[in-house]
Amino acid sequence: MTEPVLETRNITRRFGALMASDSISIELWPGEIHAVIGPNGAGKSTLIEQICGGLKPDAGQVRLLGRDVTRQSTAARARAGLGRTFQISALAMEDTVLQNAILGALGASGRPWGIWRPVLKDRGLRARAEEALHRVGLEDLTAKHCADLSHGQRRQLEVAVALTLRPKAFIMDEPMAGLGAEGSKRLTGFLDGLREEAPILLVEHDMDAVFALADRISVLVYGRIIATGTVDEIRANAEVREAYLGEGA
């Protein structure tokens, strides 16, 4: 392949005087996990919003599979192959785990207009949803209401819904947040295998996870990418150590 699966070209976004994205160019190639790290308020979530369509950049391009999607809606980008998980879970809290996963399968099917046949009895959708739930280890909780899930289980469900889409690229915003050591380890193991299915753009605070998983790391500080490289390169980078890893490295 001569083009990355996902690419931003010089995307720039201001909030008033604040430069939240300062000409960010980032690439995601097949088979890789590309981690984006940076201190709180660096602009990581803002970057993800622009990639996924929730925010329009002031300038620059977002390209998916070689096509410019900068002007496309969130839904159109999802149909084109973006599978996203949220930093703060965005799930239908009144619905069950299975219903949330089926919503993903329904979106992937592109046919939400049936008003007669019961959706929970649709074999195809159900199989796809249950497979995803099984992969994240939620198969025993399918009938539970989302509101009754623990924080960690909601994070797992976020990932499961993204899996039902069978996306061309995963975009994950702090999937480890609040998982605890055990949960982080399990999810780390899972994401490790997932990169073969589709590359992952991973925003993450958990440095153990990042160093264990990332093929490449980009460091974002005050809206600017100050370095991109392998784990070793980033660890050795003086500017990064000063700006971000300072106390830890």
């Binding site: 809606s73 839904a75 219903q99 949330n100 089926i102 979106g107 939400p112 046949r117 929970l120 209401h145």
Partner: protein, 327 residues
């Protein structure tokens, strides 16, 4: 807590039993009251599809109720005066046939809901409430000045419209027609809630951004909900006009939009039988309290306030518990 389906079943039994008793006891007015409750319930079931599942707070549903009413009024007016309904290029004859009138009411109110929905779904929150309200008022003022069909006095239809094989002038037969239509719509509503569309719409109300993230367009889902919702309320309008044999701009008033919203909230937003409970309680209170005092709306207001403050699931919520239990 009582299982919701027991409450629903009891309600249906009551809706059949009371008119049967009234028939035996020769109390035709009670049958008329029951018919009124059933028709208001149908109008509110329509609103509940937009409000309860789609989360669309429409204060303009009187528009669809009125369109259904005027569809009946206009077709029956041309039938009783033996004049064609002239559209310039072509003309159609009026009709006294209920099924034809219902079809016209459904199609016209669905079309109106499509146009109103397309324009108002660009907004949300308070703006959505205001813009739907404004559309309702537009129809209201239009019919007031529409002198061909009675202007602000409205118009009377002298004989109730007909249904093949039935004598619609017999109160209990007309009641039966209305009840069967209500049951049919409730059944369709129950199917809809469990369908693909129902699942997606339900999620669109809760977390719009999630629905977009799986590749669906929440606005289009809500638009279809609004169209179905408007069509059902329009059908109720045609029946209401037939019950009273009279249509007037009051069917388009914002007070009516508010009234059916009260029915939904009273019974339980988003519960399939919520609007039915609301309508039965409302008509009963209106009758009982209305006989005691002219200010019965104040008491209704107090009851409503208590419900909103202490029982957000409405009466069904009180009886059956919330749909979801948070820990």
């Amino acid at each position: 807590m009582i299982p919701e389906r027991h409450v629903n079943a009891a309600l249906l039994v009551g809706l059949v039993a009371v008119p049967m008793w009234a028939l035996a006891a020769d109390e035709p007015y009670t049958i008329t009251l029951a018919t009124r409750a059933v028709i208001l319930a149908l109008a509110a079931v329509g609103l509940n599809i937009a409000l309860g599942i789609g989360g669309l707070v429409s204060l303009g549903h009187a528009a669809f109720f009125g369109i259904g009413g005027y569809a009946m009024g206009i077709l029956a007016f041309h039938a009783q005066t033996f004049t064609p309904l002239d559209f310039g290029a072509f003309s159609v004859a009026g009709t006294k046939s209920m099924p034809v009138i219902w079809l016209a009411a459904l199609v016209l109110s669905a079309l109106a809901a499509l146009v109103i929905g397309l324009l108002s779904l660009r907004t949300s929150g308070v703006y959505f409430i205001m813009i739907t309200l404004a559309f309702g008022q537009m129809f209201y003022y239009f019919t007031i000045s529409w002198s061909t069909y009675g202007g602000e006095d409205g118009m009377s239809i002298y004989v109730r419209n007909s249904f093949p094989g039935l004598d619609t002038l017999v109160p209990v037969q007309f009641f039966g027609i209305c009840l069967i239509l209500l049951c049919l719509v409730l059944f369709l509503n129950a199917r809809l809630v469990r369908s693909r569309f129902g699942l997606a719409l339900n999620a669109a109300r809760q977390v719009s951004v999630r629905v977009e993230t799986v590749g669906l367009d929440p606005t289009r889902l809500k638009l279809l909900a609004f169209v179905i919702s408007g069509a059902v309320t329009g059908l109720a309008g045609a029946l209401f006009a037939d019950l009273n044999r009279f249509v007037s701009p009051a069917m388009f008033s914002w007070q009516f939009s508010g009234e059916i919203m009260v029915l939904v909230i009273l019974g339980g937003v988003g519960r399939i039988f919520g609007p039915v409970v609301g309508a039965v309680v409302f008509v009963t209170l209106e009758h009982v309290l209305g006989g005691l005092t002219d200010f019965w709306h104040i008491y209704l207001g107090v009851i409503l306030l208590l419900i909103v403050l202490f029982a957000q699931g409405g009466i069904i919520g009180l009886l059956c518990g919330r749909r979801v239990h948070h820990d």
